[in-house]
C-alpha cells in the first residue's frame, strides 16, 4: 500500500486500535526513517494525545510534588547532591594463577560459548515461528475485518429503516454510487467499477444540510477491483439533509470540499 492510502490510518495507529494487516502494512512503512508515513504518524500522535485533555480535571494531592522530589533526591542524583568521588587507589598486583587454572578456565569458556551459540540458534528458530504465527493471525484478522464490514453493509442495505439514495455521476460513463441512510447504523456506501483514484487523493462523502456548510461523513478509495463497501456513522437526521455529494480531495480528506462535485443526490 502507498503512503497516501495509509494516511487515513495514522490516527488509529497512534490510538493503538489498529490491528491485523493494516497495522502490519503501516509498521512496514514506519520501519523506514525517510518514509512520509513517519511524519504523518508523529503528527497523528499529537492529535491523539490531545484526547488526554478530555479527562475530567482533577487536582493532584499537595504532597505528591514533595514525594517526587524526595524520590529523586533519595537517589542522590541531583546537582546539589553531587559529591566528588575520592580517586580510587591503585589496586594491588594480583597473584598469578597456576597453569592448570588457565586451562580449566579456557575449557569452561569454550563450553559456555558453544552452549550460548546453541541457545541463540534455538531462539532464532523460535522467533521465526512466532513471526510466521503472527503473520497468519494478521491475515486471518484482515479477512475477518473485511467479512464484518461486508456484513454491516448488507445489514444497513437490507434494513427496512434505511433510505436508499442514488448518487449520480457528473461525468458521463462513470458508475453510480449507492448510499443507504440508516438512523442508527449509519450510512452504507457501495459502488462497482469505480475508476482508480489518483495517488495522494481520496474520495470524500459529504452531507449537505438544508442550511449551513457541508459536513464530512467519510473518506474512501475503491479497492483493487474498483469496488466500494463501507459504513460510516451519521451525525445528522435524514430530514435535515438536502443532498449527498462526493468530491475528490487530498489524502486524509478536507474540512470542506475543495473540488467540484463528482457524484450527487438530492434528498426529497
Amino acid at each position: 500500500m502507498k503512503c497516501e492510502q495509509l494516511a487515513a490510518l495514522y490516527e488509529e495507529y497512534a490510538l493503538g486500535v489498529l490491528e491485523g494487516e493494516e497495522r502490519a502494512e503501516l509498521e512496514a512503512h514506519l520501519a523506514s526513517a525517510n518514509d512520509p508515513c513517519v511524519a504523518g504518524v508523529a503528527r497523528a500522535r499529537w492529535v491523539v494525545s490531545q484526547l488526554a485533555l478530555a479527562a475530567p480535571d482533577a487536582q493532584p494531592p499537595a504532597a505528591l510534588r514533595g514525594k517526587i522530589m524526595d524520590a529523586i533526591k533519595a537517589n542522590g542524583d541531583t546537582a546539589r547532591a553531587v559529591v566528588p568521588l575520592e580517586k580510587p587507589k591503585p589496586a594491588k598486583p594480583v597473584a598469578m594463577f597456576p597453569l592448570w587454572a588457565w586451562v580449566a578456565a579456557a575449557a569452561l569458556a569454550l563450553v559456555t560459548g558453544y552452549t550460548i551459540r546453541q541457545m541463540n540458534n534455538q531462539n532464532d528458530q523460535l522467533a521465526q515461528l512466532r513471526k510466521q504465527m503472527k503473520l497468519a493471525t494478521m491475515q486471518n484478522q484482515a479477512l475477518q475485518n473485511q467479512l464484518d464490514m461486508d456484513r454491516t453493509v448488507a445489514m444497513v442495505m437490507m434494513s427496512p429503516d434505511s433510505i436508499p439514495v442514488k448518487l449520480m455521476p457528473k461525468v458521463k460513463g462513470m458508475p453510480m454510487v449507492h448510499a443507504y441512510l440508516h438512523p442508527q447504523m449509519g450510512v452504507a456506501i457501495t459502488a462497482d467499477q469505480m475508476p482508480s483514484v489518483a495517488s495522494g487523493r481520496t474520495l470524500q462523502l459529504w452531507f449537505v444540510p438544508k442550511t449551513g456548510k457541508p459536513m464530512s461523513v467519510a473518506i474512501f478509495r475503491p479497492d483493487a477491483m474498483g469496488q466500494i463497501a463501507l459504513v460510516a456513522p451519521v451525525h445528522m437526521p435524514a430530514n435535515e439533509i438536502a443532498a449527498l455529494a462526493v468530491t475528490d480531495e487530498p489524502a486524509g480528506g478536507s474540512p470542506q470540499p475543495t473540488t467540484p462535485i463528482a457524484w450527487m443526490a438530492q434528498m426529497n
Binding site: 493503538g16 486500535v17 485533555l53 467519510a218
Partner: protein, 197 residues
C-alpha cells in the same frame, strides 16, 4: 539563608519546556519542579481517569515524572513538544497499570510499555491556544458525537481497547466500530487544525 537562593520565574517570562529539559540534563531538580507545576495537573487528571483510583493515579504520576528525570537525555525538543510526549507516557503507564490490574496478557507484548513515546509532531507550535481552551474544545467535540461513537473512542483512548475488543465489549459490528473511531478522529484532527493549535 535558604530564601536567598530561591529565584522565582519573572512574570510573563516563563522558561520554555526545552530550557527546563536542558536544566534537567544538568541534574537541576528545580527544573523538574517547574515542569511538575506546569503539567502535574493534566497528567494526574489523565491517570485518574484511566486508573479510576487516586492512589494509583498518584503512583502513575510519580512514575512518569521520575521517568522524565531519568530519561531526559532521550527527549529531543526537535522531535516534538513535551506536552504530548508526557501525555503519551502517562497514558501508556496508566494502561499498563489497568492491564496488570485485569491480569490480562495483552497484544502489546512487543510494544512500548517500557520505552519512551515515539516522536510527536505538532503542526503549529507558534499558534498555541491555552490548554484549558483546548480541553473545552475537545470535550465539546466529544459531547457532540453520538453516545455510542463517543463511547467507542473513550474505550480506545482511556481503556486501551483495540477495534475488535471494543466491538466485543459493545456488541457492535467491527466495521461500525472502525467507522465510528475513524470518523471521530477525523473530526478531532479537523477541529485541532481549524485553530492551528
Amino acid at each position: 539563608m535558604l530564601l536567598a537562593v530561591v529565584q522565582p520565574w519573572p512574570e510573563g517570562n516563563q522558561p520554555t519546556d526545552a530550557a527546563l529539559m536542558e536544566r534537567i540534563l544538568q541534574r537541576d531538580s528545580s527544573a523538574l519542579e517547574a515542569l511538575y507545576d506546569r503539567y502535574g495537573r493534566p497528567v494526574y487528571s489523565l491517570a485518574l481517569r484511566i486508573a479510576q483510583h487516586p492512589s494509583s493515579a498518584e503512583e502513575i504520576v510519580q512514575d512518569v515524572f521520575l521517568q522524565l528525570w531519568r530519561s531526559a537525555d532521550r527527549f529531543q525538543i526537535s522531535r516534538g513538544p513535551l506536552e504530548p510526549w508526557l501525555f503519551t507516557m502517562a497514558r501508556n503507564r496508566a494502561l499498563d497499570f489497568l492491564r496488570l490490574k485485569r491480569e490480562k496478557q495483552r497484544r502489546r507484548e512487543d510494544s512500548d510499555s517500557d520505552i519512551l513515546p515515539s516522536a510527536v509532531v505538532r503542526p503549529d507550535p507558534e499558534g498555541d491556544i491555552d490548554r484549558s481552551r483546548r480541553a473545552e474544545k475537545i470535550r465539546a467535540l466529544l459531547a457532540s458525537l453520538p453516545e455510542a461513537q463517543r463511547r467507542a473512542i473513550e474505550l480506545a483512548f482511556f481503556e486501551g481497547l483495540s477495534h475488535s475488543e471494543i466491538a466485543a465489549a459493545t456488541g457492535e459490528a467491527l466495521g461500525t466500530i472502525k467507522s465510528w473511531i475513524r470518523g471521530g478522529l477525523l473530526r478531532l484532527r479537523e477541529s485541532l487544525e481549524e485553530d492551528g493549535s
